[in-house]
Point group: C2
């Protein structure tokens, strides 16, 4: 394989047996196409563009996938992981439910709607998917510590994955995080470090640490392992297609934080078409943001190609990335597929969480309120085809963002334990 | 089918097509064997003993089960549900992970250990299994409202299941419940009623309501639908056996609240043997309680057949039933199989939650701390065979009982975002 010299943004000197990365053949720059050997690197030394995994898939058959395990490893032949990954100690995320949402569809006026509910993952968010791929890369590179900067879901996913694998972990969070997220991040016994600063400062600190000997042999899942990590989101695309009966949906609503998940779902759909696993057909991808952190939505509406960073202010904290790395790619994909990027305000987020819970018994975190809220808005405005097969993502669990709905989810009455009291409280 | 007159403890006059209950043929008294037609009844009119579902299974084959859906409906031919249940709107619980717990096994000194992790259910506790069966019974009996008394897990499971099915729900809780449990119980939009009283008073009020016209056409999952509801726990036995490769474990540790779950797992194992789905072999069943609510454990240790009610005082609130209905059956089973009933104190519960999280990346609720704590105690005392295949249950999710571990799960340090500060905090 042709390749340039090893990118400079890593201190690790690793020799890698590519067999351990399954069908992955190298890393390629998404901007200039420069090729690199597989390694713990994330930016192109030529143009500073982001790197992504390149593959040589060979033949991949539906039957082989269908006979695989009920987790993301059924797609191991499409991921940068060793063939024996399913037997290794990891959290086995994925194969979450694609909920046929007939009652929500009826309320919204849609013919066919499914909710891809990733709250069913081991630590109850889609982050288990991406961390599982990063974990394999960390093992392959001989790293002993799994690390990340996080405001919540990722911290728990990294802590749990490292614990199961027997690796050390060191997770960095802003010091003012909600107590519930702190508890979950720390309970797995790894090192949890609170940084006296905001999330951006935590991020910058992590980048410093990667360049220092202190961070040697550390895999930062969302920094130096990011090309591998990001591939985990492709499994959402694979699962949705397989669960629909090896068919792509007509339209799909996906949350946008960094934008990585949306771009990888598009990549996954295109791979399935290319490999002949699904019939080629047009699909439309819609990105969803919270109004209080909607730089990509603003750029989409303004017809711009660049994304202006914003200072986040929204209850949808897991989507609160003011400077989304993959924002321009999201704009490309929404425009290319005939989709859009839209946003809803915090009140609409809460209404959507309650709507989804009331109609389908799915209790989503605020990010799920954002996608369902945007779905509702798009239908109301006639921008989604009500007769087309639609999928909306819920990427996390309501138990992690209880405060968002607490004031709306209270007892209807407090009564004495007597029939008279019950009758008095609820007589029509 | 021979049967006595309809039991008196229901106001409902229902005519039931037994086809809708699959292989179930009637209800039988666990004490005197009296037979009843299938109906929303729960106590024998002859001797006041509890009723359970009786079946005529016919032939059941492994292949048919294995080709079923990845939820409890793969076992529909062993449950009182219609053949088409999988296509109905319900939460599709079950088929949760049987986690190969090699790191925990190594710490405890066991050769082979699995954790059956029921936090993976839709509302993150095993209650989704039992409620799913009760929901089908409620539909069959033409009930319009799903109800229960609950201190937490059951309230969420009933609210969610009713929402998905499009039934009304009315859930009764003690008014002093933790805010997080209240939020989850109310978010699905059903009616949540707080009772100014303790759990026993809530229960008594529900029994009154069943006899009143106010409760007509209401299915109280854990009262008038209890015989159906309880059958849901058999699916834990089926899944464990199938996931072990159609083999029974040698020893299993199960939490004891009412005791129903333990008795139904034993029933499930015996059914599998009788149907030839697994090889007959001895298995030992161990019950686990929290010291602050250990009436069954106390009776076991004292060699008694009766269970003296206690006033619960433990952090394991989901197991805090001071007067467990199935206590005597639990004693029978533990003694018959060569097992035991044991308890651990609240500190041991917390230690066990942290041990499981640290070794396997599984964050259990307090009930899981009870089972893992009892497992550890039994191994230390030489009462479990360390070379035998062992399974331990985690029946709920740590996110619901965060307070139990919050003081032990905190950041190791709070530092400024600089390498010097990191070095100063963590230099060895």
């Amino acid at each position: 394989m042709a390749h340039t010299s090893t990118a400079a943004n890593t201190a690790a000197d690793t020799s890698v047996n590519t067999v351990e990365f399954g069908p992955a053949t190298g890393l390629s720059c998404r901007e200039c196409g420069a090729l690199y050997d597989l390694g713990p690197i994330f930016a192109c030394t030529e143009c500073f563009g982001p790197l992504e995994v390149a593959y040589d898939f060979g033949e991949v058959r539906r039957e082989d996938i269908a006979s695989g395990p009920a987790n993301i490893w059924r797609y191991r032949s499409l991921l940068p992981v060793p063939a024996g990954v399913a037997a290794k100690p990891n959290l086995q995320p994925g194969w979450t439910k694609l909920v046929k949402a007939d009652r929500l569809a009826a309320e919204l006026g849609l013919r066919s709607l499914h909710v891809k509910d990733d709250s069913g993952n081991p630590t109850h968010s889609f982050k288990d998917r991406v961390v599982a791929i990063a974990l394999e890369a960390a093992r392959n590179f001989g790293f002993h510590t799994l690390s990340c900067s996080s405001t919540g879901n990722l911290a728990g996913a990294v802590g749990a994955a490292a614990a199961r694998a027997g690796l050390d972990s060191c997770v960095f969070i802003p010091a003012d995080l909600e107590p519930a997220k702190v508890t979950m991040a720390a309970v797995y016994g790894g090192r949890l470090v609170a940084i006296d600063g905001n999330y951006d400062e935590v991020n910058r600190f992590c980048s410093e640490l990667i360049g220092d000997e202190l961070g040697e042999k550390w895999g930062f899942v969302n920094v130096n392992l990011r090309p591998f990590y990001a591939e985990g989101s492709k499994t959402l695309a694979y699962e949705i297609a397989e669960q629909l009966g090896w068919r792509l949906p007509d339209q799909i609503v996906i949350p946008v934080a960094s934008g990585s998940q949306l771009t990888k779902i598009d990549k996954g759909f295109r791979e399935l078409i290319k490999l002949g696993l699904v019939e080629e057909r047009p699909y439309r991808i819609f990105g969803a943001q919270a109004e209080g952190c909607s730089p990509v939505s603003q750029a989409f509406k303004a017809g711009q190609d660049v994304v202006q960073p914003v200072r986040p202010d929204t209850i949808a904290k897991s989507l609160a990335i003011g400077n989304p790395a993959d924002g321009p790619y999201v704009l490309d994909i929404a425009r290319r597929t005939g989709g859009a990027v839209e946003d809803v305000n915090d009140q609409e987020v809460v209404e959507a969480i309650r709507l989804l819970a009331r109609t389908e018994g799915v209790f989503a975190e605020t990010a799920g309120g954002v996608t369902v809220g945007v779905l509702r808005k798009l239908v109301r405005e006639g921008r989604l085809d009500p007769d087309a097969e639609t999928v909306v993502l819920n990427t996390g669990d309501g138990l992690k963002t209880l405060d968002a709905v607490a004031e709306h989810a209270r007892p209807a009455a407090v009564i004495r334990p007597s029939l008279d009291a019950f009758r008095a409280a609820f007589a029509n």
